[in-house]
Symmetry: C2
Subunit: 371 residues, 2 copies
C-alpha cells in the first residue's frame, strides 16, 4: 500500500479561548514493522471521549457549519487546560474495523483482513495506524459494531471486580447502573455470584434492570431511597462503591448508609464503626463538586479510579484473563446497545452534539466513519 | 485500700433530646490483679473529648447550674447518636497522675507511687482505675502536667510520619499546623529531615512557626495562598496531607495544588497526572461538609485517619519505638502548651465551656481534677 488519505475529527483549544472541533484530512504513510492500518468501521462516543472532544465548552452557543464547531470555553476551564492550547488533538479512545494494510512483521501480516478492536486513541477517523500487538482479534462471527466497545467498558467492569478482590470486599455498589457498563457489571456479577447493589435514577431504569435479573436496584430519585439503599447494603454486605457521577452528595450518602448498617446494634462510638468503607469515583457525569457530609465515622476512603493505571497496577496474567473473557463473551456479557448510529459529518451537527453530549444513561451514540 | 470516692464528669443524651453533662460521684472498688488506681492530676481537653462531651449541642442556649449543663441537641445529631441515648458516659481520653493503689500483680505493685500517663478514657475524674500494662511511666523528673498529653498528640504526630513511610511519600502537608500537635510534628520532622508544609490560618501563626524554625508556612487567610501553597509543594515534593479541619474546600485546594505541581511542564492529559495524591482527614474542627471540586485528575484519595486503628495496623515494635521516643523527648519534642488550667467544677461553667469548646488553635485547656 502507498500513502492513504483519511478523514478524522480533531479538537483544538485556541489561544483566544475558543474550542474548534473539525473534520480534517490526513495522509497515512504505508505501515512498517508491527504497525497495521485499520479501516475503522465503528467507534463508540464514550463520556471519556466527550471530556476531550468538548470538555465544558458552551455548545448551546456554538457556531456549527460545514464540518466545524466553534464554541466558547469558560475562563476557569481554559486555565485548567492550558497544556492543550494550540494542539490539534485526535479523539476516540476505542473502536473496531478491518485490517487493510500491515507492516512486514509477522504479527502484523497475520492480521491482514481480520476484524480487530483496539483502544489506540484517535479512532474517530476513517483509517488509523495502530500497533498489531495491542489489539484484540474479534471472533470470526463478530462484527466491527459488536467489537467497537470491546475495551473500555468490558475491562472497566471486570476491573471493578478485580479491585473488589484486591481490596478485600465481597460485594459492590454501582451508580448510573443502567448504563452499558452497568449492564455488563450486572451480567458479570450474576455469573460470578457477587452481590451487586444497582443505583439508578428513574423507575424505568429500575424496571429495566429487574427485567435483566438484578436483585437489588434502588432509585435515587425515589423518596424511599435512603431506606431502600440501607436495606440493599444490609442484604449484600457491600462496603465498596464505584461511582460514575462524581458531583453532588451521592457518594457521601452511600458511605453514610454503609456506616448505618455497620453500626446497627453496636455500642455508640463517636469515631464511627471500624467497617472499612471505600468509594471510587471513575466518571464525572456531574462535574460539580463532590459533597461529603462525613457522617460516616473515620474509617472511609474516597478516591479516583481509572482503567489504564489499574491495568498497569495488576499482573499481566490478570489482564490477559480479562481480555480472554471479553473475547469469548463479546456478544453476551459484553454486548453494548446504542441509541443511534451516526457518520463523522453528522456527529458535528448541532442536534447530534446536544443529544449525545447530554450523556444520558442508555443514550450512547456509535460513530460509523464510513457510514 | 478500701473503696474510694471519686468525682467525675458524665455526659448523657436523654430520650427527650436534651444533653446532660454533670459532675457525679462514684465509688471505686479496691483494685485487683493488674489494675491500679490513678489519682488523676492533669488531663487535657482535646477536640476528640469535646465530640463526646458536647457534640453539636447548642451550648449558647444551655442551662448552667451547680455542676450541671442541660443543652438542646439538634434533631439530626440525635438520630446519628441514637446508640448513646440514655447512657451516662465518662469522658477524657488521656491524662496523668500518681498511682495510689494497686492490685496484687507484680507489674501493678511496681507502679505504686509512680507518676504515669495513660489513655484509658474517663480521665475527667479525680481517680481512675486502669490496667497497669497500658500506661507509660513518666521519667522521674517529669510532672503529671508534663505527661498529661503524652499519648494522643505525640503518637498522632509520630503516626503521620509512619503513615508517610508506609504509603511511599516523602513529605507532609499539615493543616491547623499551629496547634500543639502541629508544633510536635514540626519538631519531629525537623529532627528527622522530613520536608513539612505548615498551613495555618493567620499571620500571627505564620510568625510563631517561623520563630520555631519552620521553613514552609502558608497562611490560608492570605490572598496569595494558592500561589504560596503551590510554591511550598514544589519545594518539598509533598503528595500527602493530614487535615484537622475536615469541612470546607481546603482539602480539595491542597489536592489541586499538588496536581498543578505534578502536571507543570507535562503534556496535557485529560485524566490528570499519574502523581498519587493522598489526603487524610483526622479531625473535624469544621463539622460542615468536605467540598471536593475534583480539579485534580483521577489519581487521588481522601480518607479518614484515626490513631487507634492506625496503631492496631502496624507492628508492635513500631508502636514500642514510638512510645520510647515520647518518653525520652517528653519535655522537648512533645511539650504541650495550655491556655488555662481549670478544675472539674469550673470546667462546667458557661464562660469556660464557650471558650474551650470554640476549639481555637493554641487555646487548649488542661483539667486539674484536684485543683
Amino acid at each position: 500500500m502507498s500513502e492513504m488519505r483519511s478523514r478524522r475529527i480533531l479538537t483544538t483549544l485556541q489561544e483566544d479561548g475558543r474550542l474548534v472541533v473539525e473534520l480534517a484530512e490526513e495522509n497515512l504513510p504505508a505501515p512498517t514493522g508491527h504497525d497495521i492500518v485499520v479501516r475503522v468501521e465503528a467507534a463508540p462516543i464514550n463520556p471519556s471521549d466527550l471530556a476531550l472532544l468538548f470538555g465544558p465548552a458552551d455548545l448551546e452557543n456554538a457556531e456549527y457549519f460545514d464540518g466545524h464547531i466553534i464554541a466558547p470555553m469558560p475562563e476557569g476551564a481554559r486555565r485548567a487546560m492550558a497544556a492543550r492550547v494550540g494542539q490539534a488533538m485526535p479523539v476516540g479512545n476505542e473502536g473496531a474495523g478491518t485490517v487493510v494494510a500491515a507492516g512486514e512483521a509477522a504479527d502484523a501480516q497475520a492480521l491482514l483482513g481480520k476484524t480487530i478492536a483496539c483502544v489506540a486513541g484517535g479512532m474517530f477517523a476513517q483509517y488509523r495506524t495502530v500497533d498489531a500487538r495491542s489489539v484484540i482479534v474479534l471472533p470470526d462471527d463478530a462484527t466491527a459494531e459488536q467489537g467497537a466497545s470491546a475495551f473500555v467498558n468490558p475491562l472497566t467492569a471486570l476491573g471493578f471486580v478485580e479491585t473488589m478482590k484486591r481490596d478485600g470486599h465481597n460485594a459492590i455498589v454501582h451508580t448510573a447502573a443502567a448504563s452499558n457498563l452497568g449492564q455488563m457489571l450486572l451480567r458479570i456479577t450474576k455469573d460470578d455470584g457477587i452481590p451487586l447493589v444497582n443505583i439508578v435514577r428513574s423507575p424505568a431504569q429500575v424496571a429495566m434492570l429487574k427485567d435483566m435479573g438484578a436483585e437489588h436496584v434502588v432509585d435515587s430519585s425515589s423518596e424511599g431511597f435512603a431506606q431502600d439503599l440501607k436495606a440493599a447494603l444490609k442484604a449484600t454486605g457491600a462496603t465498596l462503591a464505584f461511582d460514575a457521577i462524581g458531583g453532588g452528595p451521592l457518594v457521601g450518602r452511600i458511605l453514610h448508609a454503609m456506616e448505618q448498617v455497620a453500626s446497627d446494634g453496636q455500642d455508640y462510638n463517636r469515631y464511627g464503626s471500624n467497617s472499612r468503607k471505600q468509594a471510587y469515583i471513575y466518571g464525572a457525569l456531574d462535574t460539580g463538586p463532590t459533597i461529603l457530609n462525613r457522617n460516616f465515622g473515620f474509617s472511609w476512603s474516597v478516591g479516583g479510579w481509572l482503567l489504564f493505571p489499574f491495568l498497569q497496577s495488576v499482573d499481566a496474567h490478570v489482564v490477559e484473563r480479562m481480555r480472554d473473557r471479553v473475547r469469548s463473551e463479546l456478544t453476551t456479557t459484553f454486548a453494548s446497545h446504542y441509541k443511534a448510529r451516526i457518520s463523522l459529518e453528522d456527529a458535528l451537527t448541532r442536534d447530534a452534539v446536544l443529544t449525545y453530549n447530554a450523556r444520558r444513561t442508555g443514550q450512547k451514540y456509535l460513530l460509523l466513519p464510513h457510514g
